[in-house]
Symmetry: C2
Subunit: 657 residues, 2 copies
């Protein structure tokens, strides 16, 4: 048969039914003609005729013209066979994200259809032993173990299926489920447990496809918006972690039910799950108190990857399903970052890649094939719109894009849910009753960068009150100044950027930059080749503005991009490719963990990074990209610049030379 | 130190505290003097002085004169050291039973005291990793895994214990519990799930001692007295196995609570459990339907040993405790028989051993070092006193010993709960209100054997009605005769042996003997070297009478003995010595399983064995042992003897020659 011939040549063609013409996974086509390269003439008659088995399969399943079931097609002479990617055992799952490597499909749970010997009084072996014999004979699986719950159903499944059953085997050695007869599909779920939202992707483990996705708010928000306030809650309420654990477990069960419902399966059809999350969510999900993570030395309970039964975290998918939780890297660098690393694989490249996942803490990974470093930097929640006077989550009415005319200092902006700019005719009508409600995280970055480019904010971050004289938008509150983006509606309040808002962002961006600089210094470099911004924040901000503000180090603009939900992608990779698990585990062990809190240099970098960069060569390169209006000349001797400005200029000269 | 010196010489001295002078397990004595054999003069001054650590230990714990803690005693010159058995790592646990080999103490769960590195911001490894490092450094344990529930408590235990903790490790590679500070003892429970009673032994895993024992009636009795009636119940009541499973699980929890209470520990201090039971109890305990075992081909769900969490069978001992269930051998030969094999180890001897466990089925194992055979024979419940007109369980009032005067045909007997024989003065007063209530299993064997020896029962099992003329105890019911042991009290009924009773015992003993003969024939032998009778029945019967009736094959009387509760002992061995587990697993695989139901020879042997043996040479040897009264001459040409008598005589001649 073509199937056996291919396998003996080392070409792995997929199959669930073991060559019985049931599953249709092994379809191939013949390339007909003269193949000089192979010295072969591949004639149609060199394959056996379309068989009865193929006709039977065709009558129930769609099968493209020219396709053959390799398990029922005989090789009668020289042939050239094309194995389409869908029929390859370890086929690639193409990822949508640009620049991302594909996922190799090699799930930890596989289905195997077998025919089991019937019991015989002369050979009183147990049903399980005969099942194992069949799995060894047909699939070369040895040293199998079996969950006791499988034993509960095994006898009935064998007899119902007339001694033909489909078996789910985990990791090639653990029998976790058995069904009478033939079963084709099995499912897995990858879950990213974020502080704010929990997102799930349901995948068909046979095809690698994402068949459903869903996300919900993390119900723990009722214990505190950000992570540290949740840990504080626990310190105040001993034993409260039980409640928080239960809350997140209820949420993942809702998610599983939701994605299963979307595709018309039962949650118990889900046979495997993978999880990523920051250290605190990681601990709470597993029922471990995160209190130790709330104070120095920030000790994790475990930095291992964890494989346990889903039921051990009360996750009501298949009763024998296992879950795989990616390893945390350090007390502030979680399994979510491990997911980002697995999705981005900076270790596969010679280029120095900087991975940044911005949240209440920024988790930062820097390195390449030779060396990987990681740290976490306390950026605070400003980038998420918290602690900003008019900050809000990304939702309709939130300002997300801003431009400020450098001569008039007048703003124009766009809000989420409306295609028009604020100075387009009909804008007010278009936004309707929602109005302009606040500024989201990406909007704050833009408005600050634009205010800086327009000269409203100085290098030291101070809103220049002198400009109040020529622009009514710059308004004094007595001691400091604010910039009004949108006037107060009747009975409402104006949308403005206050001096405190600028300070909050300055603190955040200084922390982020200082973390990056610390890793760069440790690595002995002044420049990175590539920057990937992970997470929701990274997806929404315009990276040019992040660079204008000095959030991220200099890098060719085209080398800065969003990595999307890279943590979630990492969970999906670990779900679809079992070999990714030892890979990320050893990568995480290899990563050098830097604790910013005990690095004196971090403090220095932090202080230096408080200023907002001035206009130098790299900025000039950005000029076109941000379609700058005419701008004010800027004083390069601004008092806020300090030591850092000089250092950065020196670095740039070096990089340019 | 003496401890290290001993270990480097390959002498394993026990220790839990890792040489800190806390546990006192490593005590040794010095043998002082000239040891020509070793060429050594062992002087007192060749060991360091009694140390402060030893004084400290002494002040809190009893320590015998002359004992030293080998972990704090330095070797200063030539010494000869005695390691008492209590200080040996793999010491022997002496078994009470005669002829039984000792158990080597090597439990699967061991305690290890370690000191763990504190977390450090410069090395952000998890608590678990540092614990593993300590276990590797101090105890050379590698590739450790850890239950997720240990992680729930790990952080607190480390901090409470000031970074010193005691860890329970299962199988040398799985961390299952952690406690702050030093902990010395851990417990295991061995459970024999019988059809009628469930018995538990609680063992201290550090010493191997049985510290408590308890037994209760199997609550499944309400679903049917014997196993087959329970399976019938299930066939009539689909889904009823859930109820039956729950009943047995409730019972084992009661037992665990009871034995724990006896020694003042909590059931959660029990870290390991082992189980034996017949196939039906085995399946029900594990939640597997036993219905397949109720009909041909009697297929087991699994014939593997099973290691799972206790919680998987709702067994509320330590949350991470594992249970080990010994393997079943065949559909009618259960894990209880595997326990008997493990307790008796017939495979260690050249002698041919016959192991018999009599219950509703007799489970029979025959063989030696070279070959082992097993089968089950349907003896019916007669040996347990069921289906016998005056049969009852062994309880006060039940006749257990019987003698019949061969000339007068008058009986004398003893009942359970009374020291006097029935013809002793004051017997009636001694038994008091209880009276004589029935005949227990061992009593039935004796009365039948004595009736046979007295000539009341003929070779063919017929009660000789002709004797009614000279003895009023032989009474007719019209068609057949009965023998009255005890007259009816006022308003009660007489205790008698009816013709039907004799038939029931004949059927049972014929089945047992036929099973044994089948195995002997398969093995090509006519004689066994040793017979061990396991179980309650084996403990109570007088084996001489069993031989008189022809229940068991000929064998030197001194080579026939009770093995006590050998199945339970097997469970205890598997509990105390982890190496016994692979041993019994491979032994069970090696055993040749014979299904009596499909062996035509079994039917032949069965018919032949219905007769009761006549007086031949082997019986003469028994004569003294049973203190025979003068007896009637017996007709050796009795019509019931048939082919079998001749065969057995031939065999005996051969054996004697």
């Amino acid at each position: 048969m073509v199937l056996q011939a291919a396998r003996s040549l080392g070409v792995d063609i997929d199959s669930v039914c073991g060559g019985r013409g049931i599953c249709g996974r092994c379809q191939v086509t013949q390339a007909v003609g003269e193949f000089a390269k192979h010295g072969v003439r591949s004639r149609p008659e060199n394959l056996s005729e379309f068989s009865a088995v193929e006709q039977e399969y065709c009558s129930t399943q769609p099968m493209d013209e020219g396709m053959r079931l390799s398990c029922s097609t005989q090789v009668l002479g020289d042939v050239v066979i094309d194995v389409p990617s869908a029929s390859q055992l370890h086929r690639q799952v193409v990822r949508k994200e640009a620049e991302a490597h594909d996922i190799q499909l090699n799930p930890v749970v596989r289905l195997h259809f077998v025919e089991v010997q019937q019991p015989d009084m002369h050979d009183p072996s147990g049903d399980l032993r005969r099942l194992e014999d069949a799995l060894e004979f047909e699939w070369r699986l040895t040293d199998l173990k079996c969950d006791v719950l499988v034993l509960h159903r095994l006898q009935q499944a064998l007899r119902e299926g007339d001694w033909k059953v489909t078996v789910a085997v985990h990791g090639g050695n653990q029998i976790i489920a058995v069904w009478p007869g033939f079963r084709e599909h099995t499912y897995g779920i990858a879950i990213d447990v974020g502080s704010t939202t929990i997102a799930a992707h349901l995948c068909n483990l046979s095809t690698g496809e994402v068949v459903a996705a869903s996300g919900i708010m993390n119900p723990q928000i009722r214990f505190g918006e950000d992570l540290m306030s949740r840990v504080s809650y626990l310190m105040m309420n001993p034993g409260g972690e039980k409640e928080m654990t239960q809350a997140v477990r209820v949420a993942i069960n809702q998610l599983a039910a939701d994605v299963a419902f979307q595709v018309g399966i039962d949650p118990t059809d889900i046979l495997e799950a993978t999880f990523v999350g920051n250290p605190i969510m990681h601990h709470l999900l597993l029922g471990i108190s995160p209190i130790e993570l709330g104070g120095a030395p920030f000790a994790l309970a475990s930095d291992h990857a964890i494989t346990i039964w889903a039921v051990e975290i009360d996750f009501a998918i298949h009763r024998n399903a296992r879950i795989y939780v990616l390893p945390c890297i350090a007390g502030h660098v979680g399994a979510d970052t491990a997911g980002v690393v697995l999705a981005e694989r900076p270790d596969l490249s010679d280029e120095i890649t900087l991975l940044v996942d911005v949240g209440t803490n920024a988790e930062i990974v820097l390195g390449n094939r030779k060396r990987l470093l990681a740290c976490s930097s306390p950026t605070g929640p400003a980038f998420e719109g918290a602690q900003i006077s008019c900050g809000q989550r990304a939702a309709p009415g939130a300002i997300e894009r801003v431009r400020i005319d450098a001569s008039t200092l007048e703003p124009r902006f766009k809000v989420i849910g409306c295609e028009l700019w604020s100075d387009d005719p009909g804008f007010v009508e278009a936004i309707g009753a929602t109005g302009v409600t606040g500024i989201c995280g990406s909007g704050i970055i833009e408005v600050l960068a634009e205010l800086y480019l327009a000269g409203v904010i100085r290098h030291d971050g101070v809103i220049n009150g002198e400009l109040a004289a020529r622009c009514a938008r710059i308004q004094s509150d007595g001691r400091t100044f604010a910039y009004e983006l949108w006037p107060a509606p009747e009975g409402g309040s104006a949308i403005r950027v206050t001096q405190n808002d600028v300070r909050a962002i300055q603190l955040g961006k200084a922390a982020l930059y200082a973390g990056v600089r610390l890793l760069m210094e440790r690595m002995g470099i002044d420049k990175v080749d590539k920057i990937r911004l992970a997470g929701a924040f990274g997806s929404h901000i315009d990276v040019k503005y992040a660079m204008v503000l000095g959030m991220i180090p200099d890098c060719a603009l085209e080398q800065v991009s969003s990595a999307g939900n890279a943590a979630g992608t990492g969970a999906r990779i670990a779900l679809l490719d079992q070999r990714a698990r030892p890979t990320i585990e050893s990568l995480v062990r290899r990563i050098e963990k830097i604790e910013t809190a005990v690095e004196p240099r971090f403090q220095e970098f932090f202080v230096e990074a408080m200023a907002i960069p001035h206009l130098t060569a790299p900025y000039e390169r950005l000029r076109e990209a941000v379609t700058l209006p005419e701008r004010q000349p800027v004083n390069t001797e601004s008092p806020g610049r300090g030591r850092r400005g000089a250092r950065r200029e020196a670095a740039r000269v070096q990089a340019a030379s």
